[in-house]
């Protein structure tokens, strides 16, 4: 363990007083010459693992309009609305401001129609930008990476 507690001779104390700051100083100086592990976001980004829970997206070919995702959501941020294309009859609309990205809707969806993408920037100038209505909820990745 570190020799702070036992009784120290004057010689050991002096050695600690002089060597101590030098060791600390050279430990810090070493870092001036080492490569830095930072990246310059937003020109470069990292690669997310495939399990990462980003913004939700709905595939309207698989959705059956059962509404389980709206019932399961803890924050009630999914609303079922009539779909204009007719098939499925109802499609979820997602409010991104209240979504916790917990993934319960993804776990409990029977046809696995709702899934997480790797989109992470949730920004907008108006509140309507952060509400995925039925036109946007099927095209999240396309709108983001255009």
């Amino acid at each position: 363990m570190i020799e702070v507690y036992p009784k120290q001779t004057i010689r050991e104390k002096l050695k600690k007083r002089i060597l101590g700051p030098l060791i600390a100083f050279f430990t810090v100086t070493k870092y001036v010459f080492i490569k830095r592990p930072t990246i310059e976001y937003p020109t470069k980004t990292i690669i997310f693992p495939e399990r990462f829970r980003g913004v939700l997206e709905v595939d309207d070919e698989l959705c059956i309009g059962c509404g389980i995702c709206a019932k399961v959501c803890p924050n009630t941020c999914i609303f079922m609305v009539p779909y204009e294309k007719g098939k499925p009859a109802m499609i979820p609309e997602i409010d991104l401001q209240h979504c916790m990205y917990c993934g319960l809707c993804v776990d409990y969806c029977p046809p696995q129609a709702i899934y997480h993408t790797h989109v992470v920037s949730i920004v907008g100038f108006k509140r309507e930008d952060l509400y995925l209505d039925q036109k946007k909820v099927t095209r999240v990745q396309e709108l983001e990476y255009k």
Partner: protein
């Protein structure tokens, strides 16, 4: 304006009341300390909490049992896995549910990785409080590697949502073992640099040795748990005394301090990081195969259960009263940092005002769990 002249009537110096306001320069959180100072020594401390109270205990009464663990990792946002685990343990106690073996080992890995992450952010914040700003990004850089591991396991870096009643939510992904080995080696190598920077530095030792010592009997009397209690000399750890998950089969040591001053608390936490790395390595080697989730009932029968785990700050516990409906009747959360912070008035009398941030940092308050 308070007049600066000292009223020397019968050698009595006028007292000064200072408000160490809700904003702190470090990542503690909003907490108001009103200290009464006489000269340079602190006479009295008044702690005012409630700036981040979100009503989580009431919220739990309005949500179903499978929806609640998604909220609970936000209690202490720095060490989120423990707070989900306590709840899940309490529900399993009421239900008498069986957890498969692989799930127990995965839970150990998740908990210990979170403990490393929590202690690293404590180290960064404590160094920044004392004045050593270079250690702040170092701690966060290492924590980033551990959060990468947790992200591979559970999908998110802070709000995990990993624990389910009867097991865990996902299995380990492919390539986890190699990545974990690299990340743990990296953290262990950098720990040596931290020790060189801290333990040999005469300024750091002057700021932390013999500051605010607390004896073992006083610590037990005040109800402390966790690293703060172990720094005062009491050898109590829930993983050893009342083992849960797979801790009985793992071989690790428990660091104990001698005097209970600030340096001992720093030392105990740094040693705990090393022991946690050791535990994760053992668990990764001995992971059994099998299912990772048992299908459990959606909600437990009526009863009372208390689930407690050894959090990075102490013993965190949940008392759940269920009455047979899909939503719990009452959830009471025991937060260890609350006990530590509310015992500050008894412990800080007689210290100097310039030591306030060092002592507060060594107690490691996380305001999310104190105010709930």
């Amino acid at each position: 304006m308070v007049s600066i002249q000292e009223k020397t009537v019968g050698r009595e110096v006028r007292k000064l009341v200072i408000n160490v306001g809700p904003q702190h320069p470090s990542t503690h959180g909003p907490m108001d300390l009103i200290i009464t100072v006489e000269g340079e020594t602190i006479i009295d401390v008044d702690v005012k909490l409630g700036y981040i109270h979100r009503g989580i205990e009431k919220l739990c009464e309005l949500r179903n049992y499978f929806q609640i663990p998604t909220y609970l990792n936000r209690l202490c946002y720095v060490s989120g896995m423990f707070w989900e685990y306590g709840f899940v343990k309490a529900v399993e106690e009421i239900m008498d549910a069986k957890v498969p073996e692989r799930a127990e080992w995965l839970r150990v890995i998740a908990c210990e990785l979170t403990r490393i992450a929590s202690h690293l952010v404590w180290f960064a914040a404590f160094a920044a409080d004392v004045g050593l700003f270079t250690a702040f990004p170092w701690g966060l850089r290492d924590r980033d590697r551990i959060l990468d591991l947790l992200e591979m396991m559970s999908g998110q870096r802070m709000t995990f949502g990993y624990f389910r009643v009867g097991g865990v939510r996902y299995d380990l992904p492919a390539g986890f073992h190699d990545y974990a080995e690299k990340a743990l080696n990296y953290v262990e190598r950098n720990l040596k640099d931290y020790e060189k920077l801290i333990y040999e530095n005469p300024v750091f030792l002057a700021r932390t040795v013999d500051i605010c010592p607390v004896s073992a009997s006083k610590a037990i009397e005040l109800g402390w748990t966790g690293p703060v209690l172990r720094a005062s000399g009491v050898k109590r750890d829930l993983r050893r005394d009342e083992p849960y998950a797979a801790y009985e089969a793992i071989d690790f040591e428990i660091p104990v301090g001698k005097k209970g001053d600030t340096f001992d608390r720093v030392y105990v936490r740094m040693e705990e990081i090393k022991q946690s790395i050791n535990i994760v390595r053992q668990a990764l080697k001995r992971l059994p195969s099998g299912p990772y989730q048992h299908r459990a009932l959606l909600y437990p029968p009526p009863g009372i259960g208390y689930g407690y785990v050894e959090d990075s700050r102490g013993e965190c516990g949940y008392m759940i009263v269920s009455d047979g409906s899909p939503k719990p009747y009452r959830v009471k959360i025991r937060s260890p940092a609350y006990v530590h912070v509310m015992s500050l008035p008894k412990v800080m009398k007689g210290s100097k005002i310039a030591d306030l941030y060092a002592i507060l940092g060594s107690f490691d308050p996380c305001l999310g769990e104190i105010d709930r």
